[in-house]
């Protein structure tokens, strides 16, 4: 497997040499050029967290406007921009990138690999995400933010009903962002297929990895629908095509189909990795592996597939034939089965294990409660007759916040507390964390539970104001109060993380006793993750004496090398060398940014210049190294 000469070197010397080879200079260039998946993962988390803050402030303003009937904190146009940006940013700029951040930081560690399969592509993906986010948020400060709702239904978003640049920011921004998401997804898939530690056959892959891989496959199939829809809308708006204009033979329902073919899988693209986080956290605090592992894998896979067959339940009121709706209704109702499997697997894990209550577990428990409540209302929306009555009311707002905040944000915060030692080497304060949990959990339910009621009372969503005397006032006031409590709780989360990084105690090695490989590395891990590539013998390698002892004694894999293994059973295949840090990913992302800005401002020579620059950078990036003389002679 490795060269014989390596065995002659004592282990300590080999490790020291490895340290030298992987050390990153503390320079500005190195900061921009790094391809270390842990640093990139942290950047994803911080950037997505910042976008979460901005979109959260949007939400607070919206709730302030709605605190009383006839509120006049915001103008109608401001309100419409804010709710559109809130939704768009939370879905596209917070949830997915945040979870990709966890994936970036953790997947290679959990697999026992040294980095992602394509480290430079990974860096490129981050930069593109950052630039797309900056474009979209800067539009808000310039007052030209998208204002068509996050699903941007035509004809409202098409000419002649939406002039101005607002919707161009939306279409171009999301296509640009899609580049990043697609790159990330391919990277996760290849990493998980090819870089698993020897012995980690499919039946031993961590559930979080299953979730990330399932998500990535969903991205590959779902995102093209969004990109195509946005491209067609951009062409309609900018170049006068007629895809969505009925007068010239187009069709407005086409947008809804295309958007939701992406949109509903996207809900699970957000929720699945979060469920994976839950499955990763539980073993450490229940002192046993997640119950019914094969069933949870089954659930992950089937959710990923069925989620592509439920999109029309967003269109139950469009007047399509009710028979064609029912095929989607059937899938929407029965997709609950795999979700139920996961919930009861977690409950079983807790029932059959020994529980240690720490902050991450609190957030998991809060997640299960909230997610189950969002799940039961989800079943209701799968029923066509009920959906036709309640959709587009505040009940729907309540439902999807239970699913998305409950299903994604609770696990994300739990994961943040759980993996803070891996990410930063520090421990967060338990006391502050418990306060944060209490405020977030209480504030969340105070904000969103009343929305079920205002929805049942007939309050439509996306209204900037409402009249008094319809029974909606008290529930809206409660929601607004709750949103401020929730905001305080979230600020406490941020505070506890900042405090931990600034002056928290250094984390012990494997402080929680987790079962996956990231806890078998040092805390925090070295740039090369593992000096020797781990051997896996079971589902819980970090609890496995065989794996741990061999990590100490196996020979060190020298240099910037990684071990490829076979796809299904993870048999060792061959060594490959990993790329070094490079500025090219950043340059490529900048060139693409020029293309997007050129299109946005309708300065087409700029866009063309950007395309040329992109080609130049990418050609340089991928230029194959010239053969060495020995290789040339061999050839």
């Amino acid at each position: 497997m490795t060269t014989t000469s390596a065995q002659a070197v004592p282990r300590a010397v080999a490790v020291a040499r490895l340290e030298e080879q992987w050390r990153e200079q503390r320079s500005l260039r190195s900061w921009f050029a790094t391809v270390d998946h842990k640093r990139i993962g942290r950047r994803y988390l911080v950037t997505a967290g910042a976008f979460f803050g901005l979109a959260g402030i949007d939400a607070l303003l919206l709730r302030t406007q709605l605190a009383r009937a006839g509120g006049d904190v915001l103008s109608p146009d401001q309100y419409n921009q804010l709710f559109t940006m809130h939704g768009t940013a939370m879905i596209f700029l917070f949830a997915t990138p945040m979870l990709f951040g966890f994936g970036n930081a953790l997947v290679p560690l959990m697999l026992g690999a040294r980095d992602m399969a394509f480290p430079r592509l990974n860096a490129f993906g981050y930069w593109v995400f950052l630039f797309a986010g900056l474009i979209m948020f800067s539009s808000q400060f310039l007052g030209v933010a998208p204002n068509g709702g996050w699903f941007a239904y035509v004809p409202l978003t098409d000419l002649p009903y939406s002039l101005g640049r607002n919707l161009d920011v939306y279409t171009l921004g999301l296509i640009f962002l899609g580049v990043s998401t697609t790159a990330g997804a391919i990277n996760f898939i290849v990493t998980s297929i090819k870089l698993r530690a020897p012995g980690m056959s499919l039946n031993r892959a961590p559930l979080f990895v299953w979730a990330i891989v399932a998500t990535s496959f969903m991205v590959l199939f779902a995102l093209p629908a969004l990109n195509a829809a946005n491209a067609l809308l951009f062409l309609d708006r900018r170049f006068g095509t007629h895809f969505f204009q009925p007068d010239a033979g187009g069709n407005t329902l086409l947008w809804q189909h295309l958007f939701w073919i992406f949109g509903h899988p996207d809900v699970y693209i957000i929720v699945l990795p979060a469920l994976g986080i839950v499955s990763a956290i539980l073993p450490a605090f229940c002192r046993r592996g997640v119950a019914a592992y094969p069933l949870v894998v089954l659930a992950t896979i089937t959710i990923a597939i069925i989620s592509f067959g439920v999109w029309v339940h967003h269109m139950f009121a469009t007047g399509l034939p009710s028979l064609s709706l029912s095929f989607f209704s059937a899938a929407s109702v029965l997709i609950t089965i795999p979700s139920g499997i996961q919930v009861f697997a977690w409950v079983a894990t807790m029932l059959f294990g020994r529980i240690v209550v720490r902050v991450p577990l609190l957030f998991v428990v809060g997640f299960i409660v909230t997610f189950v409540m969002g799940g039961v209302t989800g079943v209701m929306f799968g029923i066509t007759a009920f959906d036709m009555q309640i959709t587009d009311s505040y009940f729907v707002v309540a439902h999807f916040h239970y699913v998305l905040f409950g299903g994604a944000v609770f696990p994300i915060i739990g994961g943040l507390y759980y993996w803070l030692p891996v990410l930063t080497g520090k421990m967060a304060s338990e006391v502050l964390g418990r306060w944060a949990f209490g405020l977030v959990f209480g504030g969340f339910h105070l904000t969103f539970f009343p929305m079920h009621l205002s929805g049942l009372l007939g309050m439509p969503r996306r209204v900037y104001t409402y009249p008094t005397g319809l029974g909606w006032d008290p529930w809206n006031l409660l929601s607004t109060i709750g949103s401020y409590v929730l905001a305080v709780g979230l600020l406490l989360v941020v505070l506890s993380v900042v405090l931990a990084v600034a002056r928290g105690p250094r984390a012990a090695v494997d402080p929680w006793g987790g079962d996956t490989l990231e806890w078998a590395a040092t805390t925090p891990p070295r740039p090369y993750n593992f000096a020797s590539i781990p051997q896996v013998f079971g589902l819980h390698p970090a609890w496995d004496r065989r794996t741990l002892s061999r990590l100490e004694t196996d020979e060190v894999l020298p240099g910037h090398q990684a071990l490829l293994t076979s796809e299904l059973d993870a048999r060792p295949q061959r060594l490959v060398s990993m790329p070094e840090a490079s500025l090219r990913p950043l340059l490529a992302a900048l060139a693409l940014l020029v293309v997007v800005l050129g299109l946005l401002w309708a300065v087409y020579w700029l866009a063309i210049a950007g395309v040329v620059a992109t080609i130049v950078v990418v050609v340089g990036w991928l230029w194959p190294p010239q053969l060495t003389r020995a290789e040339a002679e061999a050839a």
Binding site: Y161, A292, S322, V333, V343, V376, L470
Partner: protein, 322 residues
Amino acid sequence: MAAVLVALCLAGCAGSAPSTLDTAGTGARRVEGLWWFMFWISVVAVLEVLLLLGWALWRRRRDTRVRAGDAMPFVGVLGVGLPFIVLVAVYGVGLRDLNALIRPPAGPELSIEVIGHRWWWEVRYPDTAGAITANEIRIPVNQTIRIRLTTADVQHSFWVPQLMPKTDLIAGRVNETWLHAERIGTFRGVCAEYCGLQHANMSLIVTVQPEEEFTAWLRDLAAPPARDLTEQQRRGQAVFEAAACGACHTVRGTTATGTIGPDLTTIGSRWSLGAGAAPNDKGHLGGWIVNPQSLKPGNQMPPQPVPASDLPDLLSYLETLR
């Protein structure tokens, strides 16, 4: 549990809300039944999980044994078997109710065309020539009314929560729904699909009347009876006709035949101005005419700077249009 109590109190506390749980229409009543069926199932499901979680947290912190055995039977029964039975039942009931929603109780006795505009509702009674109104629908009680839904611009959604689940108004399509009110009363409806700047102010009122009252109203709507006008009201009519009002609005029996804005033949008896933006009284109407943009920013009506001395006359004329 608190959740349950709050929800139970809903029907009582709702007051004059357009509540889906205080229904008066055949379609909405069926969905109300469906809701309570699913609601109780949901309560049981949530309680089950809460109890198991509570038990785990309370019991398993003390018990130090870790049961290694795999929990397949537990997950299989509680996570697959039970939910499957419940979900199939819910799906079946839902299918039954959907079937009821697409088959109105009796053959349609009246047709109404509803056309969505940014941001108001045009209502036409095609069987009675000239019967056009805006932002209000009157229907006779205990009859099935067929509603034809189209839009003049962007997508809207027609929702009268107490009468019938919503149906979208989609550009390039004609959608249909029906109303069947089981009691007399007024019921608030809204546009439920986001349609731009003033989506919040796009409401309508459905007034359910005894059949004779409705027939009389419809007759008067189509051919308004001659009105005796006072001196001031006649002056107001002259102002109305002299100003550009007729370019956008219609008042049947006068020279005003515009079709861009709502038909004003019965403006005096409407429930609101600007599809719910303001109450319909002299004070609001005066402000609305001169500067509609402050009451409903962004609506399509431009400010009408009528001469100051004419405004009171105009208002007194408009009040007579009932």
